[in-house]
């Protein structure tokens, strides 16, 4: 917890304080890596268990008071829906979706649930210029619609393409995304609605550290049933929601190109030059100005001296 605050304070500090020509760069190294709030919660999703019943989608819809879907939640023709060649994704009417993936060489398809992964260092949060996002100590990444300007940078930044925007509204648009049932359940220590609704216990809710241990145990005890990787352990700097899969993750259309470090690390190169430009440029260009106009000044001086004598 302290670490995150340090790190974010540093970044905020470096930009604000640099205006006052002070830049505490040394702090950067102290907070180079944030490994998450201790005891923060997470969910381990085991793809081998999911049968695609869509109970989680129904539960989410009810818990979050989302609008009625086009098709009821036990209509499985949605698995064939494609938009621009892409399977269903989260949008302003659904915070979570389950998609079917036919895997070559596997008798049965796999189902993959998508929702916010609640990163430890969320890209949406670090890219937001009005601080609309908060990573709570419980592990949820929540959003405050009352300060959002609607710039949609969070949607650009999210490596998992999760935040959705209410394009349909002119007067009350906002970002719509899974909030880990933060206000209704997570603060009370309860599992999110989707987890509780799942008949197959595809999702295991618990402390992130315990989940990692559980995930490793499942892999160790059933080495043939899983690939040896927990997606989300390090992806995007670590996420609260993590996945086990019986087949390589790219076959279930996980983005395996997501870096194993926070997205923020890619932006730091630029952030670090800001205080430098702010402090060096004035001196540099004033200096150049003085040098470039020296001749002129000397001539002027000569002239005025000449006229005096």
């Amino acid at each position: 917890m302290k670490k995150l605050i340090n790190r974010r304070r540093f970044l905020q500090g470096s930009l604000v304080a640099s205006a006052a020509a002070a830049f505490p760069l040394a702090k950067n190294t102290a907070a180079a890596n944030f490994e998450g709030y201790p005891d923060s919660m997470g969910v381990l999703v085991d793809l081998s268990r999911c049968v695609g019943c869509r109970s989680c989608e129904a539960a989410c819809n009810k818990e979050q008071n989302l609008p009625a879907p086009e098709k009821p939640f036990n209509d499985f023709s949605v698995f064939d829906e494609l938009s621009h060649g892409q399977k269903r994704r989260t949008d302003e009417t659904r915070y979570t979706v389950v998609n079917r993936h036919d895997i070559p060489g596997l008798k049965h398809p796999l189902f993959r649930k998508i929702q916010c992964n609640h990163c430890l260092e969320p890209a949406c949060l670090t890219s937001c210029f009005v601080n609309a996002y908060t990573k709570t100590p419980e592990g949820a990444v929540i959003y405050d619609a009352s300060v959002c300007v609607g710039c949609r940078t969070c949607m650009i930044a999210c490596p998992f393409n999760i935040p959705a925007f209410r394009y349909s509204s002119a007067f009350d648009p906002k970002i719509m995304k899974c909030i880990f049932c933060y206000d209704t359940r997570l603060v009370k220590g309860l599992p999110p609605a989707c987890v509780e609704a799942c008949p197959q216990e595809v999702m295991t809710f618990g402390r992130r550290t315990d989940l990692l241990e559980m995930g490793r145990q499942r892999i160790r005890e059933n080495p043939d049933a899983y690939v040896d990787h927990i997606y989300g352990e390090n992806e995007a700097g670590g996420t609260a929601w993590m996945y086990l899969s019986p087949v390589p993750f790219e076959q279930v259309e996980f983005n395996t190109a997501v870096p194993k470090e926070p997205i923020l690390n890619y932006v730091k190169d630029f952030l670090s030059i800001v205080p430098m430009v702010l402090t060096i440029w004035p001196a540099l260009f004033t200096g150049i100005h003085l040098l470039a106009t020296k001749k002129e000044k000397m001539e002027q001086q000569k002239k005025s001296e000449g006229s005096e004598s």
Binding site: C53, G189, E201, E213
Partner: protein, 176 residues
């Protein structure tokens, strides 16, 4: 689901070969109830009247009850500790698998260093994880309403109330 499948195959193979199961002091199918009404979770679905006697003819005790009936489990992970575990006092699913899962009690329990079974499913998970693979394998009903009929609350939950329900074909098509 590969591991349960394999256990199941082994069990079925043994059954067909006609070998006698387990140890002498183990429970046998005559000690078991004829039917079990599974209703502790019924809200979106009606209770299930589970014909225990019918299932004992299709599978062996340990296929569902692990080692608790005194029959030795074949899963190498379990055998490591339970090779000689005797029959236990309680064999009912709900005696070990909690109705509520992932509530603060269960989460904080994981902090106890003496617990080995850190990955024990809740009651609902235990039922479905146990039943569905075998039902799929044996071409028994494996979609939701094949075992339990939906209640009005369920119809509302799945947003069927204002629309015509999806056809049975749709439902079956997604079951693997």
């Amino acid at each position: 689901m590969k591991a349960p499948h394999r256990t199941l195959l082994v069990a079925v193979a043994l059954l067909l070969a006609g070998t006698s199961p387990g140890h002498g002091q183990a429970m046998d199918e005559y000690d078991a109830p004829t039917t079990v009404t599974i209703d502790s979770l019924s809200e979106l679905y009606e209770p299930v009247i589970f014909s225990h006697v019918r299932h004992t003819k299709l599978a062996r005790c340990k296929d569902c009850h692990h080692h608790t009936t005194g029959h030795q489990d074949m899963n190498p992970n379990c055998v490591r500790c339970h090779l000689h575990s005797p029959e236990s006092q309680t064999v009912s699913c709900k005696d070990c698998h909690t109705r509520q899962q992932f509530y603060p009690e269960q989460v904080s329990e994981l902090g106890n260093p003496n617990i080995y079974h850190i990955d024990k499913p809740g009651l609902k998970g235990a039922y479905h994880l146990n039943c569905i693979p075998c039902h799929v394998e044996k071409n028994a009903p494996s979609h939701c309403e094949g075992c339990h009929a939906m209640t009005d609350a369920g119809r509302e939950f799945f947003r069927l109330t204002d629309k015509t329900p999806g056809t049975a074909k749709d439902k079956d098509s997604r079951v693997r």
